[in-house]
């Protein structure tokens, strides 16, 4: 198994879609798509995310890996398959600024991990708060690149945690990675430093608890 994970990881890092599809197709001869997601894809993406955090891989490799994986998993595990993980009810949004790479990467990685989530795209603070409440989300993932956008999370936390139903708020993006205290300063429930961190955080929240 570690060999398959390693080969799949290397195919993703090289952005070699054909090699990645070949590995998937061979694996599916004896296993289910969900097995592939759990035993291969999630682990390979985690290795790539951890490698980026250590400075071994580049952000472009994290992004391209997520995109290739998302496309492959969408093919074998379509939304209507009934096999996608739909708990917690969640969405992802880019707050205020226009730099959507981080949001797109996390979205792809979560989809590649078999999760169901809504992509809100870019949203202003008030619109995001209203939409989260309307959709009765259990979890919102917020991506921000600019510091001023990251600081707006404080307002989102304040408004969303006003009622009795607490929405879990997970943040990510460069300001949070460079300042390791910022996620707590804005009142978020958890922070992801790599796209694959989102997989771990969301998995841990399936039972309603954070891993922080």
């Amino acid at each position: 198994m570690p060999e398959v994970i390693g080969n799949f990881r290397n195919a993703l890092l090289a952005s070699d879609k054909d090699a990645a599809i070949d590995i998937l197709d061979k694996y599916l001869l004896k296993h289910t798509p969900l097995d592939f997601v759990e035993a291969i894809a999630v682990k390979a993406l985690d290795e790539i995310g951890t490698g980026w955090e250590k400075g071994e891989y580049a952000l472009s490799q994290v992004y391209m890996s997520g995109r290739i994986c998302e496309e492959m998993i969408d093919r074998v595990l379509p939304d209507q398959s009934g096999q996608r993980i739909d708990k917690p009810k969640m969405a992802i949004a880019l707050l205020n600024d226009y730099h959507s790479l981080g949001k797109k990467t996390v979205y792809s990685v979560l989809r590649a991990g078999g999760f169901q989530l809504i992509d809100y795209g870019r949203m202003e603070t008030e619109d995001l708060i209203n939409r989260v409440l309307e959709d009765r989300l259990e979890l919102i993932l917020i991506s921000a690149l600019m510091l001023s956008s990251a600081l707006q999370v404080k307002e989102v936390v304040r408004k969303l945690n006003h009622g009795s139903e607490k929405v879990k708020i997970v943040v990510g993006g460069a300001p949070f990675r460079l300042d390791r205290q910022l996620w707590q300063a804005v009142g978020a429930d958890a922070v992801g430093y790599t796209a694959s961190d989102a997989l771990k955080i969301v998995s841990s929240l399936q039972g309603g608890k954070t891993n922080e």
Binding site: S15, G55, Y57, A58, L59, S60, Q61, Y63, M64, R67, D97, Y98, H99, S100, L101, K104, M146, L147, S148, L151, A174, P175, L178, D179, Q181, L182, A185
Partner: protein, 353 residues
Amino acid sequence: MSETEMSPMQRVFTTLGHKEPDRVPLFLLLTTHGAKETGLSIKNYFSKAENVVEGQLRMREKYNHDCLLGFFYAAAEIQAWKGEVIFKEDGPPNSGEPFIKSLKQIKKLKPPVIAESPVLQEVLKTIRMLNEKSAGTVPVLGVVVSPFSVPVMQVGFETYLEMIYNEPQFFNLLMEVNEAFCAEWANAQLEAGATAICYFDPVSSPTIIPREIYRQTGHRVAKKTISRINGPTATHMASGRALPIIDDLAETGTGAVGISADENLRDVKQACRNKLAVIGNLNGLEMIHWNREDAKEAVINALTSAAPGGGFIISDNHGEIPYQVPDEVLLTIADTVHSFGTYPLDRLVKDDE
């Protein structure tokens, strides 16, 4: 100025020549703080060269650091390309939705005419005025966003990465247009009186792109573009790592590199010895909640790691200090550099001896 005290210009050029000046030069790369200093909104502050000149001069007097910054904000170049720029009350103006909506647009893309861009003209006016006021004693820094990094704002980051990997034809076309504009914009700033050009190139960092792809793309672009710039350049990775590509950066013809707070300053300094001067690497985002002790400790650590032998300018890691960083922290940084950064470095703990 005492007999042995150098002007900021002498200090900076001595260290760029890999020799020890009278003390370690300090670049506080402050942009939006000038608005606070002059009591203006950020939008209003950047609307006129006179405001920025006033802000820059006041901040140099207040912190006694070693440069004046002709830079407004990165998205000014996007404004010149007729793209959208969004002003904020508490941070630098940000580029809006990418103005290149389809890759086919690249075939017909024409670079901005500098003389017809109000914002670029204000930048040039600022540089001219800062140069006059400082009378050649303080370096005036101009800034360009590299042809390889500006597409993040032109087409959006995801589209750009996919273009680098999968659309070499469009990539090459875009680089051709961007290289021409970048060199022209850098040279216009040098002609206006900029002492050197900071070549912002975060996408070339191994944090963003693997070295093997960088060698075929950002490195090639930087070599071509920097050779067309008629003055000294410093390449800034804007929070990205630089250590794995130090030799590649030196090949581009740049004279200095701005590095990440994630990197070991001592290792980078060692790799750069006699090839590139090092600029960095105080964590600008952490500065927001630093107290005086934190600031002093961070400065002393940086000086201990990189000041011996010259070739070092102490600065932040991103090339722009966030608006939220309190003046008290900046004053402590400046005071500590002035107290502990004087050569010979007797006041620093020689922890490796």
